[in-house]
Symmetry: C2
Subunit: 378 residues, 2 copies
């Protein structure tokens, strides 16, 4: 492989993850090309070459990639066949296409967990709704589309015969309901030399009213044993896959403190945004080190860090206006990340805010204040 | 003024300081235009609009600036008259043109120090070499060009009658030799509301052989009194000037522990690069907060931070190749910043490396290893 500062990197997807990745590639003089269907994508003006095109189309991805040295992704829904062809022709692709293929399909993910003794909720696969109905599973259970679900889309709770009528038609999996105490996540990085490092385990705090992740808290205050177990699970998956790059592992911690893996993302992830200011190495810096086979960086936490997603307010659609920025920046240790999206719509991810504070309670107080103060309107 | 995320910012100069500033403007969705004479300048591909043109030319700067909301600089040698005209027409310019004018001229700087009781080495101004010779100053002394000196250029030591023959012809100042124990620096930020914050005082460690700054160390281990005094001097200058933006104040600490101000830079500065990873707010983030009149960020040090300038090796000129990157990244807390310059030449600033470590001695050991290991060749 060429040296990092002479490399041409391609990113499939030009959204906020690509944008934050580019803020780090700049440090290494990496030549960055981005492919995204949106002519106004967040990466548009900060990369060396930007192409508008479908990341799901064989010809588009193949032609975009054939002169590059290395390709990575910021979203899984990409054309795998083109990436496999590019790999055959000598272009390095990290994460490897076979891993993206596995992770694109929640059914294959679950089968991989089962075959590799990775703890996960019991499940069954179905090709049609009729098969699902015929199975007469005990209520309630969760139905998930095998493909194309994201950010809570593609998931339904089936609590009764009646809900079965509205169940998804497409290939899906049914999963037992998990009574969890906390959603947790670990991001692990692995380079081609096989070196692996995990970021400290983080906790997601839910707003019970809105059923949305409200805050992400790093590091976790659960026991060392639980944290170690979660990190071991993440490493086992990454080494089991022999993957190169970042792997975000979302998990449930059940009420009796068992860990069950929920799902995987083979790339930088929302659950790692707080690493930019909260850890010695950020997830974006670590992804670059991993895919260029550089020694991995120190993942230690600098202090408590809370991340708040900045979503478009309900009932506002149009050119985005950010209210409350000045007020939140008055607090110490508050960092703003806007994603360069011109238009807001209800619940669109428009940015995130990180709070870093040595005192955990004070960090939580600040995060609540931020949540109440900053609004994305139109 | 418009809100930050709707603002069009212009930067005069597209070098590494602009580049690192843009890595921060991305967090606020700021629309960034850059003017630089070099079509291959480090900012070229990471801004919204890049124009090739002279930052010293009235028409070029005026036309570049007239549709912008706010203009800042990353180098002082810009056309002041155009900036003054733009200011009259309602474009905000920070730092203010009158301050850039003052700082462009080391003679005016020294007079300002004198008039405002800012401690500085004794000096005299001369319009020609003949005047300088006629003054019969006691040897040795330092002659500095009033304008256009940078990075050690435009400075001569005059130790004898013979040296006088090679003295600068242009307007200059003569300054007593300062026997200093250490070069120190403080960066202060001030916003339009008058809020001010200083970064902790830093020390420059010289290599006596090469007479070049070898390492920058943050924070200083000098006494609280000395640090406080240096920070007070920086604040006095910034408030005396009513300036908006960053002001880097380079100072000498004499052998009897007096502080003498050497020179000023009204912008992000080499002596603040370690703040990117070493402090809760970076100098670049602080400059943005200051010029957009946002509350200033916490400048506290996270840990000991050392900065090593990455200069082109002597005897190499051509397309840059970086040797030793992998080796230095094996150490914990090492951060690489390459400046996106395609071509290296002897002693050209090609990047910098920062080491962050809780243990100061270990940080210094790592910095020495880095200095010996990484090389920019062609």
């Amino acid at each position: 492989m060429k040296s990092i500062s002479q490399s041409r990197l391609g990113i499939l997807g030009g959204g906020q993850l690509g944008r934050m990745l580019i803020q780090e590639t700049i440090n290494y003089n990496i030549h960055v090309s981005v492919l995204d269907p949106d002519a106004d994508a967040p990466c548009k003006n900060i990369c060396d070459y930007f192409e508008v095109g479908s990341i799901g189309d064989y010809e588009t991805v193949y032609n975009f990639g054939k002169y590059l040295d290395l390709i990575t992704i910021e979203i899984e829904k990409v054309n795998i066949e083109a990436l496999e062809q590019l790999e055959k022709e000598g272009v390095t692709v990290y994460p490897q296409p076979r891993i993206i293929r596995l992770i694109q399909d929640k059914g294959l993910q679950k089968q991989f967990f089962k075959e590799n003794d990775i703890p996960t909720a019991a499940f069954q696969l179905f090709n049609t709704r009729e098969q699902l109905i015929a199975a007469e599973l005990p209520f309630p259970f969760i139905q998930k589309l095998r493909k194309d679900g994201y950010d809570g889309k593609g998931v339904k709770k089936i609590a009764s015969e009646k809900d079965l009528e509205d169940a998804f038609e497409q290939p899906s999996l049914a999963e037992s309901m998990v009574e969890f105490e906390k959603e947790i996540a670990v991001i692990v990085a692995r380079n081609a030399n096989g070196e692996m490092k995990t970021f400290p385990m983080v906790e997601m705090d839910f707003n019970p009213e809105a059923n949305l992740v409200e805050f992400l808290i790093s590091p976790s205050t659960y026991s060392f044993e639980i944290q170690q177990q979660a990190e071991e699970i993440a490493k086992n998956i990454a080494s089991g896959l022999s993957m190169v790059g970042l792997l975000a592992v979302e998990m449930f911690l059940t009420k009796d403190h068992q860990i069950l893996v929920n799902e995987l993302a083979p790339r930088p992830h929302n659950s790692g945004h707080q690493t930019i200011e909260g850890n010695y190495t950020s997830q974006f810096g670590q992804h670059i080190r991993a895919i260029f086979n550089l020694p991995l960086g120190d993942t230690k936490a600098i202090a408590n860090a809370l991340m708040i997603n900045l979503l478009g307010e309900a009932n506002y659609e149009g050119e985005a206006v950010y209210e409350g920025l000045e007020e939140i920046l008055e607090k110490e240790g508050v960092y703003v990340h806007l994603y360069g999206k011109k238009f807001t719509k209800p619940f669109r991810k428009m940015g995130h805010i990180t709070v870093v504070d040595e005192d955990r309670e004070r960090a939580i107080e600040k995060a609540k204040f931020i949540k109440d103060t900053i609004k994305v309107k139109a």
